[in-house]
Symmetry: C2
Subunit: 605 residues, 2 copies
């Protein structure tokens, strides 16, 4: 029988092959025949599930892991209706199909890659809960209430009342701490899903997270990669949005999406009550203390986490100015000044470049190797196929590009990345030669897989060059390698004795794990219980093993009930906010959400 | 030879038929053989040109008119490259094709409908000027300026400088008076085209045009019909946006599109100088007088024009409150009060309904017949094919829908409208029966062509029912027919002696022609030279002949050099702002714009 099917598959086209696989797969699942279902995967296989089977973000690697997951989830999930949503394609021995399916409580989309032996990769994602579909398209709200109604409350009256009541007369179900793009994107999704939510941010206006940064800052990712949910940037939007423009966009978006966004509000403490199963969060809004009691607490305070400020001897006796890069006000006050920037990644380069432009005398201290790619090369080679004007023209939507991206298992993602960075190395050979001739210690990641894997693994260790690397290569920005020994009253001294006179020292020394936010807001005990946030467990520099398969603690349940971490770049804020929002919505509606494979904690920070 | 071509056309498919026609047409144009080109049209034919051939909005009716236009324009326009942009379709003896073409200075799009005898309708429109393409899609701005540059001016620095200089150190090329959706849409297009423009509005915030109106107001047109250029409403946008929501959208849009929008600014006088060929416009900005010297002056102060406040005897002795509907603050202050609303069109109904909801004792005075359609019926029957979720699902874009709409010649548009209103009459028969039983004097337009033709012809005489008509039908809002004779200290008295006690009288008595704005701002002489604005010359009620073929004075050159009128509903503001913007851009760049068939003036107002 198996022989016959294989024969048929070999001769049939991709559509028939996929249809057969899906029908057989569904049959095995319906019969709860876990062994048969698992055997339909290749020996080397990856099933990535985003919330639809596991109520978790989970990649199952190998048939045993697939079988174990199915055994635990099948009865509750009761999947059915597997079908293709467009015609499958074939190439290089892999048949690729976009699929849809149902679960007991929701509707899913996914992607399947079949090899001769069976399924190589399977992506399953939940996109809506039955009976709780978002009001969009055909289901969009009506707006006007036709008819005459003496109890009428207009849109603005309702909005004003809701805004006045939420947090006072009515408690939010979800409290999002941090109102950058992450908090805003999640807030927009929760708004659509009807989950009462407050977003709080200590700054004065939505977008101030960007406005407050150095003047010349522009997004390093291009517009096609950066769309927020529901409302895309207009087609005249710049490729790399200047920071004040993206700030204004976020502010408008917050208003258009009718978010309950509290500015000038800081959370000072949070405590989980096992009895009432709710958080007690003390906040100060416009200086007034207030207690909120949300059921869910989401930290969206920045995936970069808390600033790592180094502790060098002599920092207390240094008479100039010194600050972490996150507090750097921009170059305007430093024309003609001597500036030492400690660090050699994104912030360090951008700050060095802006200072040089304003006429400062700038020295960069490189303490460890760093990875640089030219922005144009990254765009053309790294992102072009999914996120570019050409991709749009060829019918690639943002949503589909996100799914393609999500379909690549983290375990093998570097294999797809290495050849791209080999291309970049080739294309920009002159640049790298000059940079290294200037003494720069350059790397391509532990396994040559470049920038994006560094981002996913450690969130640091790179610079997307928009110009400042050239200043280092040509010596306009002085480069010194080595470790800082101490500061004197007016200089930075390295271990080798090099003395760098300084009016200003900028510590572009990076950030800690996001669970540092939890330590500050809740307790060290909860931060330790949750453990390190971000990274894959790839056993590469700054991303210790064991292998996790997904990014630690991001957008999924943690070891602390009802505590969540959200954030990342605009792409991640957009895409993963959907899965986090659906997890929260299900809990809000009392839909059972049995979490399969809650991650274990291997590292405290 | 002709026989052979006809034979071939009959047997060939629509693509071949259209290709042949386009090739022959282009050949005739290239040979400047005007007679041959005109003979390719049917006897009953309509060629509507939006700026591409005529630098005007012009519908040519009949072969002679086609020939005359071609004789006057061909050498300058030098059209070429006629081709289909998608596969033509055929039905009911008409072959329909979407086309593209080039002119000497620009690129055009259009639509062709072929009958057996030849072209029945042809739409030609200009969509961009060569060498002046909008920076969008592949041509979008880069945003970040990569590289190190000591002269760098950031986006926000540049924006701040430009905003500070324009109107002071630098003069705007175009001054748009009125910052509602019309002024904003035009401003956005001019911004993209790089034409220095200031939009002025007397109100405090963009969107206040909507905010300041009565509380319950929602758009009467649905979302699919209402998009602005470049940035579409998100898919969760309500079908009928509440007024404060659309107001907030306009405010965000103004910011996102980086318009130079001056709030709290009123133009007090304007004068055209023949010598310098520029306007001298006195404005007050935040109370400070200032003189602007734009080359082009655009009145976008509302297609409704200035309020028609009637002059009834006794208005001076009336001791209650009285105001025009445009000044009506909403119902909140009038609970329990006696209100007489004079008028029976949109504003009258909406105001009556809102007053009734707040518990006022409301009487509507109907002075002449009016036309009512149910909002749902108008949506389903009147707009559904082009502007609806179903239309979007079937691949109809807003831009294409606008072109389909533009392709129907005004001369025969009513023929397409009459059957739609016949359907509505049938569908809502019960409603109309009840309404007439209540004494309402209802009409369907002079020729039964309903609401949209009334809008185009006279801009008045109808109500899109969102509920208030039911209150009139069931007597909750009292209906009285007749003419107002006078006001007493506390009542409105009709010609038949009926006395209506009143604490408040609302004059929902409509608006004058937009050239009234020109009279106020410039002079009565210029207003008279320009003549009546709006209407088609259909020789129906309030739209006297002779036939004009296009809406008088809207979006096209007028008898006053460099004076333009812009506005209309959101659909018109969106679509026609393109053609007005291209006319202004061409003049800004010094591209010759010989206007064919400048309209004559037949009516002063």
């Amino acid at each position: 029988m198996t022989q016959t099917i294989e024969q048929r598959e070999k001769t049939a086209g991709p559509q028939a092959r996929v249809d057969t696989w899906l029908a057989d797969f569904e049959g095995a699942l319906a019969a709860r025949d876990v062994e048969r279902a698992a055997a339909m995967f290749a020996t080397d296989c990856y099933w990535r599930d985003l919330v639809s089977f596991t109520w978790n973000l989970k990649t199952l690697e190998g048939r045993d892991a697939v079988a174990a997951m199915l055994r635990a989830t099948l009865d509750e999930i009761d999947p059915s209706g597997f079908r293709t949503s467009e015609e499958p394609s074939e190439g290089g021995g892999v048949t690729e199909a976009w699929i849809e399916f149902d679960t007991a409580v929701g509707r899913g989309r996914g992607q399947l890659r079949l090899k001769e032996e069976g399924a190589w990769t399977l992506l399953t994602t939940l996109y809506e809960l039955k009976g709780h579909e978002e009001p969009r398209g055909k289901g969009r709200p009506r707006g006007a209430e036709h008819g005459a109604n003496r109890e009428r409350e207009t849109w603005s009256e309702k909005r004003v009342r809701e805004a006045a009541e939420l947090g006072y007369a009515a408690q939010p179900y979800a409290l999002v701490v941090g109102g950058g793009q992450g908090g805003i994107a999640l807030g927009a999704r929760l708004r659509q899903l009807g989950v009462p939510t407050i977003i709080i941010d200590k700054r004065g206006r939505p977008g101030d997270q960007w406005r407050s940064r150095y003047t010349s800052l522009c997004l390093h990712d291009p517009v096609w990669y950066d769309h927020l949910p529901y409302l895309k940037f207009p087609e005249n939007w710049p490729v790399f949005a200047p920071k004040d423009k993206i700030a204004d966009w976020l502010e408008s978006y917050t208003k258009i999406m009718e978010l309950n966004y509290w500015t000038n509000t800081e959370a000072t403490s949070a405590r989980w009550d096992e009895g009432t199963r709710e958080w007690t969060v003390e906040v100060e809004r416009d200086g007034q203390p207030l207690v909120l009691r949300p059921k869910q607490l989401i930290l969206a305070t920045g995936m970069a986490g808390k600033p790592n400020v180094p502790a060098f001897p002599g920092m207390d006796r240094f008479r100039g100015e010194q600050h972490h890069s996150s507090a750097h006000p921009g170059p305007d006050a430093y024309a003609g000044k001597k500036v030492v920037v400690v660090g050699s990644n994104n912030s360090a380069f951008d700050i060095c470049g802006a200072l040089w432009e304003k006429g400062a005398d700038v020295t960069m201290v490189q303490r460890s190797s760093s990875h640089i790619v030219k922005s144009d090369s990254l765009m053309d080679i790294g992102l072009g196929a999914l996120y570019s004007e050409e991709a749009v023209a060829s019918g690639m939507t943002t949503e589909k590009a996100d799914m393609v991206f999500a379909s690549l298992p983290y375990r093998i993602m570097h294999e797809f990345q290495i050849p791209l960075y080999d291309q970049m190395r080739e294309r920009d050979k002159d640049f790298y030669d000059r940079l290294e001739a200037a003494g720069f210690d350059h790397d391509w990641g532990d396994d040559g897989s470049g920038l994006f894997m560094k981002y996913l693994r450690r969130g640091s260790g790179y610079y997307i060059d928009v110009g400042a690397a050239e200043l280092v290569a040509n010596g306009d920005v002085r480069l010194v390698g080595g470790q800082v020994k101490e500061l004197t009253a007016d200089s930075v001294v390295l271990q080798d004795g090099t003395t760098l006179p300084a009016d200003l020292v900028v510590y572009a020394t990076g950030y800690g794990s996001m669970n540092g936010w939890a330590a500050d807001l809740i307790s060290q005990e909860v931060a330790d219980r949750v453990g390190k946030v971000w990274g894959l467990g790839s056993a590469t520099t700054k991303d210790p093993g064991p292998w996790e398969g997904e990014q630690r603690n991001m957008w999924k349940p943690t070891q602390q009930e009802s505590l969540w971490f959200h954030g990342g770049n605009l792409h991640q804020s957009r895409h993963y906010s959907l899965y986090l929002a659906l997890q929260l919505k299900a809990r809000f509606e009392g839909i059972p959400t049995p979490v399969y494979g809650l991650q274990e904690v291997h590292h405290l920070s």
